[in-house]
Symmetry: C3
Subunit: 140 residues, 3 copies
């Protein structure tokens, strides 16, 4: 019979960059004994996002940062909202350009991530933050 | 017992810009009496999108517009599809760069939006349009 | 009564570009006899994505390619990860800028796509690939 489950994941970031959350997510899912279903992740902030990316080569992560730092530069004179500093508005724009929510199907008791896929929280602010990700799982 | 509900939200836009839809969405959800579940929003157009953003400082919204106007300029000579004017293809590109669908978990009878998060429809065309957002709610 | 269904769609791409998958998705859904529900698509790769876009004018698709080729140029000297060639890291960045997952509500036995909307797999690598899209459907 279909059932649903929910929780909130708390993640400490060390400032701008990716934090892999695949293991933390799996740790919550596995004891629930769900064979098939769908997991939704939703980040409760407007300056962080969720990313599915390659978990093999760390250069992928530094290239992502370099690309976004050039595309949405801190302190860009075009941007006026800077209540919390030169990285404030760029963080909102990075969040708009990426994803704040992901739904991943579950089959045979596992998230259907591809071989090279990991789940990441992407911190867009330069300072460390405590971030919340709401999780919702439906399945049987 | 798990149940599901669906509707279509109709939103009038005043041309390019964000229209907050958080209240309209809550007005539909609340009478359904769902304590926990997941709400999916899907925009039925290829030149508008959905955004979760800060609902406090209006400068965040004007900065978002300024940034996207520079990133995807109207009348860009690179772009050939302009059946409906110089903002036609840029609107499709903005939709591709942002989200056309969002799923937000519900816990304790409320959308799990963070303190500063609001739900927005983002109109990418310069003229006003009537837009449809399909809503699907599953929960109990 | 609510039920769920899952499968994996295999799609051959011909290198960079959009492959419409609307019909393939409908072919899987229709025999299941679901009147209302929600379909989730999840691409199991880090260099391809999912797009909802206009299915009428093919120039929309070539403009999308031209725009992304300028925004994330192959062989960009800023990027170091190029194990699989000059289109390797740009493909990851394109995937981060677009969507790897979509959820589309179903009402009256049909996906609630707008008149001009089609579902596409977006191949970001220049060479042909065999891609997997996990599908999950919940409904009744």
């Amino acid at each position: 019979m279909l059932r649903q489950f929910g929780t909130t994941l708390e993640i400490e970031t060390r400032g701008r960059g990716l934090v892999e959350i695949t293991k933390a997510v799996r740790r919550w899912i596995e004891p629930l004994g769900v064979g098939s279903g769908a997991l939704t992740l939703f980040v409760r902030h407007t300056s962080a996002s969720l990313l599915v990316q390659e978990n093999a080569d760390p250069e992928v992560q530094s290239d992502l940062e370099r690309f976004f730092a050039r595309l949405v530069p801190d302190g860009d004179p075009l941007l006026r909202h800077r209540d919390e500093g030169p990285d404030d508005m760029p963080a909102h724009i990075r969040a708009a350009l990426t994803a704040v929510q992901l739904t991943v199907p579950i089959a045979e008791g596992r998230l259907v991530l591809g071989t090279w896929q990991g789940l990441y929280l992407w911190e867009h602010r330069t300072r460390p933050h405590r971030r919340q990700i709401a999780l919702h799982l439906i399945g049987e």
